[in-house]
Every structure is written in C-alpha cells, then in structure tokens.
C-alpha cells in the first residue's frame, strides 16, 4: 500500500526481466525474494552512505570550526585532510573496549545499539527523492517521531549503565531534554502536516515546489515561526550546542558517553551526527521544499519527451537531480547547525527548560492554531498566491 524503493524499481524494464529470469531459473515466483534482496541492498547502501555522511560530519565540523577560529583544522590525511575521519574510525576500532567494573554490563552493551538503531530506523522514511526512498510510509512523520525517541532511551541507559556521576547526570539531562523538546517539535510538525494534508512525507513534499516561494517555510507568517521553533527544538533534541548540556565538557567531562570507548563511543558519535543530518533532512522536507527541483527539471516526462532522453536514464537522472536538491539543502542546514555550535554559548539547565516550556511550547501551540486558521480561512493558499491574486484583481484581472 505504500510506495517503496521496490515500487520504483519494479516499474523499470530491467527489474522485470531479472524477475522473470530468476523465476524461471529458481522454479518459484521470485518476486518476494527479489523484493527482499532489493530492500537489503537499498538499506545497505543507505546505511553505509549515512555512516559516511556521519564521518564526513565530524570532518566538516572540525574543518568549519577551524575556519571560524582562524585555524587550519585537519589537513594531513588525504587532500585537505578529508580522510581524517577514516583514520579516526580505524583508531576507534583498534582501541581497547573498556567496560567499567561496576557497570551494568547488559545495558552498557545495549545502550549504544539503541541509540544507533533509533537513528538509523528513521532513515527508512527520510525522503531523499521521490523514488530513492526506502518507503513513503503513510504515517511517515509519526513513525519518525516514534523511532527517534528510542535515541532518548539509549542516551539515558548509557548514562545509567556507566555507573559514573558524570554519565548519570548527562544521561538524565539528555533524556529530560529530549522528551521536553519533543513537545514543541511535534507541535511544529503537526502544523506542517496540516498544510501538507497527510503524515506521508511524499504528500508534504509534494505540496511544495522547487522555488523558495513555494516552500512551506514562506507559505504564511506562521510557518516561519514554526520553522524557527522546529529548528531550535531539533538542535536541542540532537544535543547540539547551544543545548549540548548532556555532554557539556566543561561540567560533565563528556556527559553520558564518558565511560564509553572504542566502537561503543563511535556508535554514540555516529548516531549524533547522523541524527543531525536526519533532522536537517526532515526540516528540509517539511519546510524547504524537500527534494523538489526548481522548474520541475526532475520530471520524467519533461526529460523523456522534451529533452529526448530514453525512459530509463530519464527516470534515474530525475531521481538523482532530486537527491542532489535534497542533499544540498540539507548540507546547507547542516552548515548552519555547525555554525551555531561554534558561535553561541551554552545555556544553563533551568534556562533550557524555561525556554522549552515557557516560550517554545506556548508559541508552537498558538502557531498551530494560527496555521489551522490560515488553512481554514484562506483555503490553504500561500500568502504569495494571495498577494498575486489581489494584485491581479487590482489590475483588473479575475
């Protein structure tokens, strides 16, 4: 019932040929097998690419911060030090896996996996493009919210299981911060769901356009506020500065992952970077037009009929254009996140909670009502449309 990456591929000629060949060769209907294989391959690709993205995130962070602080940053491994993250990864794997003596062994083992699993499960619905998405789940946004909350449990359990005061405080801070900021974030997202007309990312992205005036962020005044609230909430949910209290190095050594070493620590770090990427992607999908390309360049019909490309390459090219649009916007947001991290000072815990419960939550609530009002009163039209219409009416048009 949901469109998946298999749906996309099964529409293509080679896939059908392969299916028939396999069926004939194996002696039973190979559709299911091929589906599983396709999913597996797709997941494999995405997970590895995202792991790469997470690694590149550390590199980007270091490089950008160095740039801001007039330093060089990593510059020895590979050109411009770009392979630094691989070296770091190798180092992580080679390190001794230390488990504290009085720690809760089982949970100490589970916690990084939970973090990692929660983050990577969200990738299932992240809309890279209209075709190259694992699944356009009909409750995509909701699913994403649910799965990403597993990360909170992971952080909490990690903090608890280390049997260390720093970790404990960091874990508790992280969990409370995550479940608190989930409220304004969810309320902001619901406003966008109202505009998009569905929980499916495809619906929401499809309701937008490639050009900025078609994006939801500029749809009406409330959505701008909604975006700001969402972005602040996302920063807090991912424990990024200025909300990086769970791992505040000046107070808590390194927060909830103080006692973790080696790959366990790498899991936490990776989960964090990937989560930032995911939330930036969600922000792009919800507010910044998602994978939409300007002037509908990615349209298969346009590429195939007008430009004259053959059907297969036309589809692939369209999808690649969409992925490019999506990733570029996401990276731009990613840059903003890093920029904020190295610019703003850290908040205190009480300021953090005050900001959430006394400012963001009421603003998000009122904002939700405002968006609903806009949808009801202006029939969901964006303000640019209204301005154009009134201008046209003033000019004597219909």
């Amino acid at each position: 019932m949901n469109e998946t990456v298999v749906t996309f591929f099964s529409g293509s000629h080679p896939y059908q040929v392969v299916t028939e060949l396999l069926t004939r060769y194996l002696g039973f209907n190979a559709t299911g097998l091929l589906t599983v294989v396709t999913f597996f391959v797709a997941c494999f690709v995405i997970v590895n690419v995202m792991a790469l993205v997470g690694g590149l995130g550390t590199y980007a962070e270091r490089k950008i911060s160095a740039d801001m602080q007039m330093r060089q940053g990593p510059n020895r491994v590979g050109p411009f030090g770009i392979l630094q993250f691989l070296a770091d990864g190798v180092k992580m794997i080679m390190k001794e896996d230390i488990v504290p003596k009085d720690s809760d062994k089982m949970i100490f083992f589970i916690a990084p996996i939970l973090c990692m699993a929660g983050v990577f499960a969200t990738l299932a619905v992240l809309p890279f493009s209209s075709g190259f998405t694992l699944t356009h789940l009909n409750i995509g946004v909701f699913y994403l919210l649910g799965v990403s909350s597993v990360v909170g449990v992971g952080i909490f359990l990690g903090g608890y299981s280390s049997n260390s005061k720093w970790s404990m405080i960091g874990g508790m801070r992280g969990a409370s911060q995550i479940i608190s900021y989930e409220v304004p974030v969810t309320l902001s997202i619901i406003a966008m769901v109202l505009l998009g007309g569905g929980l499916n990312f495809k619906d929401i992205v499809g309701a937008q356009g490639g050009l900025p005036h078609q994006w939801f962020i500029f749809h009406n005044p409330f959505t701008v506020i909604s975006f700001i609230v969402f972005f602040i909430g996302a920063l807090a949910e991912t424990n990024r500065a200025p909300f990086d209290l769970p791992e505040a190095e000046s107070e808590l050594v390194s927060g909830y992952h103080t006692e973790f070493t080696g790959m366990r620590f790498a899991f936490f770090a990776l989960a964090e970077y990937v989560e930032v990427f995911v939330l930036c992607g969600v922000a792009v999908a919800l507010y910044l037009g998602g994978y939409q390309v300007p002037f509908e360049l990615s349209d298969t019909f346009l590429l195939h009929n007008k430009i004259g490309l053959p059907l297969g390459p036309a589809r692939i090219l369209g999808q690649l254009l969409e992925v490019g649009g999506f990733v570029s916007k996401t990276c731009a947001l990613y840059y903003v996140v890093i920029w904020i991290r190295w610019t703003l000072p850290r908040l205190r815990v009480d300021q953090l909670m005050t900001l959430c419960w006394k400012y963001l939550t009421p603003i998000a609530l009122i904002n939700l009502v405002g968006v609903a009002f806009w949808v009801y009163y202006f029939d969901g039209e964006s303000m640019w449309n209204l301005i154009f219409k009134s201008g046209a009416a003033a000019a004597g048009g219909h």
């Binding site: 019932m1 299911g32 599983v36 809760d104 089982m106 949970i107 589970i110 789940l137 009909n138 409750i139 909701f142 699913y143 919210l145 649910g146 799965v147 909350s149 597993v150 909170g152 449990v153 909490f156 359990l157 608890y160 005061k165 404990m168 508790m172 969990a175 409370s176 479940i179 989930e182 929980l199």
Partner: protein
C-alpha cells in the same frame, strides 16, 4: 511469508520480553525488557494493519512511559549505599522471592485456567476466509475520533490535562519546615 516472519519475530519479542520482565531480578533490566516487549507489541500492531496504533505505541511508550519509568527507578533507587531507610525498611524493594513467585504462579495458573476456558470457544470458531488487504487507517481513525468518539476524545484530553497537572503537583518537592 514476510507477514509470518514479522508476526513470529514480533510475537517472540513480545512474549520473551514479558517473560523476562517477570523473571528478571534487576528492575532496570526488567524495564529494558519491557521496552522490547512494547516494541514487539508495536510490531504486532503492524501485522494487524494498525499502522497508526503502532506508531502511537512507539511514541507514547518508548518515548514517554519507559523513559518515565527509568527516571522513577533512578530517582527512587538512589546512589548511596545505605540499603535501609530511616524507618528501618529496605530502600530498594526486593524483586520478589520464592514465596511471592509461588503465589504469583498459582494466581497466574488460576487466571490461565479461566481464560483458556474462554479462549477455547474462540479457537473452535470457524475462521473467516479472506482477510481485508492492508490499508491506511489514519484517516478513518481521525474521522472516528471527531465523529463517533468525539466525547471520549474530549474527555481523554481532559484526563491527560488532569494527569499532567496532578503529576506535577504531586511530585513537586515541598519545602520541609525546619
């Protein structure tokens, strides 16, 4: 086949989690097992074509209830080594002993007897032929919530507000006069 696979894995997760909750001697572990059990239930919902419920289960239980439980365990467990409180009672209550488990087993057995007596009739019933295909339930649940079940919906909102305020009021530390 995929449905069967999903069902079996979810059911295994659920039942094993539940049994682990019963048998685990560590409260924190029990809570973690509960988490797995709840995720398994979410998977069962998916096999029952209840997509919205599955997501709700994840959001509410994993994101809310379990974290609350963990918090409560953490806040009540304490880190100090004193095992006895000022009233002379163990701070961390035991997770049960042979006596209690015997009682629990007997009770469970009793319940099992009765419930199986009910379920037997159900299993004898002729299964329906074709199950309806999976379809999105979000829109239908939304419609039902604001048409047929609007009163329950509103009441539950009041209930949640009451629970929110009540919980905040109860757990708020009071100033001890001294």
């Amino acid at each position: 086949m995929f449905d069967n696979f999903l069902f079996i894995s979810s059911a295994a997760l659920t039942v094993c989690g539940a049994l682990a909750v019963v048998l685990s001697p560590n409260l924190m572990h029990a809570c973690t097992y509960l988490l797995t059990s709840l995720i398994g239930v979410s998977g069962l919902y998916v096999t029952l074509s209840a997509d919205f419920l599955a997501a709700t289960q994840l959001v509410v239980y994993v994101g809310g209830v379990v974290i609350l439980m963990l918090f409560a365990i953490m806040l009540t467990g304490g880190n100090d080594n004193k095992s006895v409180n000022k009233f002379g009672i163990e701070k961390i209550a035991p997770m049960g002993n042979i006596k209690t488990f015997t009682l629990a087993g007997l009770s469970a057995l009793l319940m099992a007897l009765v419930i199986s007596k009910i379920i037997v009739n159900v299993t004898k019933a002729v299964p329906k032929g074709e199950l309806p295909p999976f379809s999105s339930t979000v829109e239908k649940i939304g419609e039902l919530l604001i048409t047929d079940h609007v009163l329950a919906f509103e009441i539950s909102s009041v209930l949640l507000l009451g629970a929110l305020i009540g919980a905040a009021l109860i757990a708020r530390p009071r100033k001890i006069e001294s």
